[in-house]
Amino acid sequence: MSAFLSYVLHGIAMGSSFALVASGLIIIYRVTRVVNLAQGTFAVFAAFTTSTLLGAGLPHGAAELLAVLVAGILGLLAGLVAVGKRGTSPQASLIATLGVAIFCYALEILIWGDQPRSFPGLAGSFELSGLELPKQYVVVVAATILVFALLEGFFEWTYAGKALTACASNPYAATLVGIGVVRMSLFGFMLGGALGGVAGVLLAPLSPMSYDSDLSLFVNGFASAILAGLKRPVFALVGGLIIGMAEALVAGYAKASYQSALALLLTLAILVVQGARRPVLQATEE
């Protein structure tokens, strides 16, 4: 029983960070209709930046915040490449984000080398009736809840949030009421970058990251986003938790190497069922 609970706890912590990656993907996808293949890269970049800043003597908190800011700027740059040029088709943008991701590989190896890196999070753990609850898990979950609450508030109560939603729902009408769609797309990329950065900063103390960890982060994040229907960022929390727990249980009871294959199969099944149900006319318009 305690094994089961510890798997679930691990799954919740992992799932929270998948949800953060997914929320960034969804925000970018809603505004630009581009699946950002560089989403995992933001997390890795932020994690590496944090480890350097901590090494330079910055206290916890400041280092993480600064790294998230760096990830946001990286997101903005990725957005400039992907949607900054007028007349770029969504397919071209998709391939361009792939280019950004690979370019970041070169950058990351150049700055930090090709070995996995990690940094200490909050050490120690709580004791709950014989069950060990590492403090870093609590930090991850609490930070995720805080970020999602802020996101909800942002989309609900601020003009920028509403403008983002407006661009997502009807770019033409948004232009008519004076919202710059390209500017909002770039803003979406920046926000997506920062959210990816938060995921990376929270996850790195749990498991060391290497420059190519972005692939598994992207895959899990996209799986969560698909489960959430690529619609509202908050739904991604549910998607992320499902994927995270399913993977942790598979890794615990079956075999660790099956966990990502399972998440992928699950996502493929959902995609195909959705794709088959969608009317052809609507699908070709996308």
Partner: protein
């Protein structure tokens, strides 16, 4: 469009025949680079056909390459004759594409791109778990290809073999592009509804071109298995799939000549930079950094500033020369 077709009809087979003859004149280093080029070009022509003509994005072509390689490798290490493995490789890859294509090709655009990427990752983890493929350690001791009494031993023999395979692939692709199914593919890439209402069997054609491009990749993979003699899941990373997309995009999506030019340009550039990076005084990570940077910059530049690839830049000049010579 017709102009491109015409140049491809004469120029490409002639070019390939010329390379086939020249292959005997180079030393081993150049020849091994040439084999890599021919294998990459075989896959890239398939990718170019699939993405440029039929409009289907595939980020999983490396899985079909791996499937062909493992088919040839496993069959021959289990005692089958080399020729059987060589012939089975493209068919196994096409069969795999056919099976996964039935559900996956219901998807479009981004979703298809992700699904093919996912298929590649799942394929790698399955291969890593099976004992017959050697698992994560890899499959060792694949015998050299033997056809009749001739054993393909030297790099030169593989240069000829891969040139021959490339020639077959180019001729096949060219004939398909010029045929009625080829026109059907171009029609469905712009609008599936319009194509379907004009009588194009959309689902069937998409599946067929997907399987065909996989067969090309499988053919190249089979040759790779005999050439290297060793296979591991690590030889077929996701980046391999992306590499083919980069090559096709740089050469010019949808054109056969673009597939050849793209693979040649990318391979030569990466090779030149890796020689630069392994010179003394460079850090040990320099080759990796440079090759990633080259792929990234080429990909972004091609997609944003030269959407038709190198072919779109040289075709007008090429046609001018052709017209002049004919007059």
């Amino acid at each position: 469009m017709r102009g491109i077709m015409r140049t491809e009809r004469y120029a490409l087979p002639a070019l390939l025949l010329a390379m086939l003859c020249l292959a005997g004149l180079f030393d081993e280093t150049v020849l091994s680079l040439y084999v890599l080029f021919a294998l990459a070009a075989i896959v890239t022509v398939g990718v170019s056909l699939l993405m440029g003509q039929a409009g289907q994005v595939s980020l999983g072509q490396g899985a079909f390459y791996a499937c062909g390689a493992y088919t040839a490798g496993v069959l021959t290490t289990q005692g089958a004759p080399g020729l059987v493995g060589f012939i089975a490789a493209p068919f196994a890859a096409a069969a795999l594409a056919f099976v996964i294509g039935v559900p996956l090709l219901l998807l479009r655009g981004h979703h298809l791109a992700f699904a093919t990427l996912a298929a590649h990752l799942i394929f790698l983890s399955v291969v890593g778990e099976m004992t017959i493929t050697g698992g994560d350690v890899g499959l060792q001791g694949i015998p050299r290809l033997r056809v009749g009494g001739f054993q393909f031993d030297s790099v030169l023999s593989y240069a000829y073999l891969s040139s021959f395979a490339l020639l077959v692939v180019v001729i096949l692709a060219r004939n398909i592009l010029a045929s009625r199914p080829g026109r059907g593919l171009r029609a469905l890439s712009s609008s599936e509804i319009a194509a379907a209402s004009s009588g194009v069997p959309v689902g069937l054609y998409k599946l067929a071109v997907f399987a065909l491009s996989a067969a090309f990749a499988g053919l190249a993979g089979g040759i790779y298995a005999f050439y290297m003699g060793y296979l591991a899941p690590g030889s077929f990373p996701v980046l391999l799939s992306i590499e083919y997309v980069v090559m096709a995009a740089i050469g010019g999506l949808g054109t056969i000549a673009g597939g050849l030019i793209g693979s040649a340009v990318v391979l030569l550039l990466v090779h030149a930079l890796s020689r630069l990076a392994t010179m003394s005084g460079m850090p040990s990570t320099a080759p990796v950094i440079l090759s990633y940077a080259v792929y990234a910059v080429l990909l972004m530049a091609a997609v944003l500033f030269l959407p038709g690839g190198i072919m779109s830049a040289i075709t007008p000049a090429w046609e001018r020369i052709f017209r002049r010579t004919r007059q």
